[in-house]
Amino acid sequence: MQSDQELILQFQKSIQREQTFTQLVKKHQAKVYHQIKRMVNDHDDADDIAQMVWIKIWNKLDGFKMESEFSTWLFRIAYNETLNFIAKQKRQSSNTSSTDLLNYENTPSQTDAPKSSEIQIKLDQGIKQLPEKQQFVFMLRYFEELNYEKIASITGTTVGGAKANYHQAIKKLEEFLKKN
């Protein structure tokens, strides 16, 4: 399998652009989709955001200078698109009635995985009450097992900031469990 760098160079030299791009998509699509879905919990939304992310990559790949890893750049775009989507959704939901909002907030989870235990529900609720940036950092660290340097590049913060975000997230989850 060709490296990201080789594929990007091929794309930039306009050698079979569509096929080259498709190879890049196939290599990274699952990780991007999963990260987005962890944040939005809905397949259609995650699919839509993932498509927007890849369209941006298509449009900007010619100018990509490979100063950072492709996957870091990809996750950064995914991060921005996801946060934009969530912000838009929040604006729209603020227009709905307070009852609707209450019901939405009280919904334990919108994920389609089976909820086997009470702790599962608490985990869902606990993660949802975190600020989006902390959620994103938490998931990149715990589930994607990324190092803090990469997380910092993705979220546009310092390494110290990324570490602080992760530890703040854990602290808030702990407090949430104590309260509930």
Binding site: Y33, R38, K122, Y142, N147, L173
Partner: protein, 143 residues
């Protein structure tokens, strides 16, 4: 103490979470993110290429909104030209159709008074010019 906490390894960071929630709960949470409709990833690249093809930037004047904007602008230019020209014709018509009978005596008297007064000013200003100019003035008047 705080610094020690921050310099944790990945394993230590994960253990911190697993002290709060069971590994099973965390794995289940991630399972929901991993679950996708059948053959989603197989069809995604093709679906994406189609969307990219449809998403290619269009020139503004070729888009439906662009076409409508251009049509509206043209219509506005034509309409305003028509209105402007029509107004001009009306004024000319009004002036050419005006006769002396349409003007009241008062208006005529006022006009004459005003022009007499103006003529007087002209006369006075000429009277104060040097002699040579006055002579020329008289010559011109006689001619």
């Amino acid at each position: 103490m705080e610094q020690k906490k921050i310099n944790t390894t990945l394993e230590e960071d994960q253990i911190m979470v697993e002290r709060l929630f069971s590994k099973e709960a965390l794995a289940n949470y991630d399972k929901s993110a991993s679950s996708v409709p059948t053959s989603y990833f197989e069809t995604f690249p093709e679906k994406l290429q189609q969307r990219i093809a449809n998403n290619k930037p269009q020139l503004f004047f070729l888009t439906p909104i662009g076409k409508m904007a251009i049509a509206a602008a043209l219509l506005l230019v034509v309409a305003s030209t028509f209105i402007f020209l029509n107004k001009g014709v009306d004024k000319n018509l009004e002036l050419s159709s005006l006769t002396i009978q349409d003007i009241s005596n008062d208006e005529i008297e006022a006009y004459v008074d005003a022009n007499e007064w103006m003529a007087e000013i002209d006369w006075q200003s000429e009277a104060f010019k040097p002699d040579t100019e006055i002579e020329q003035f008289y010559k011109d008047s006689i001619d």
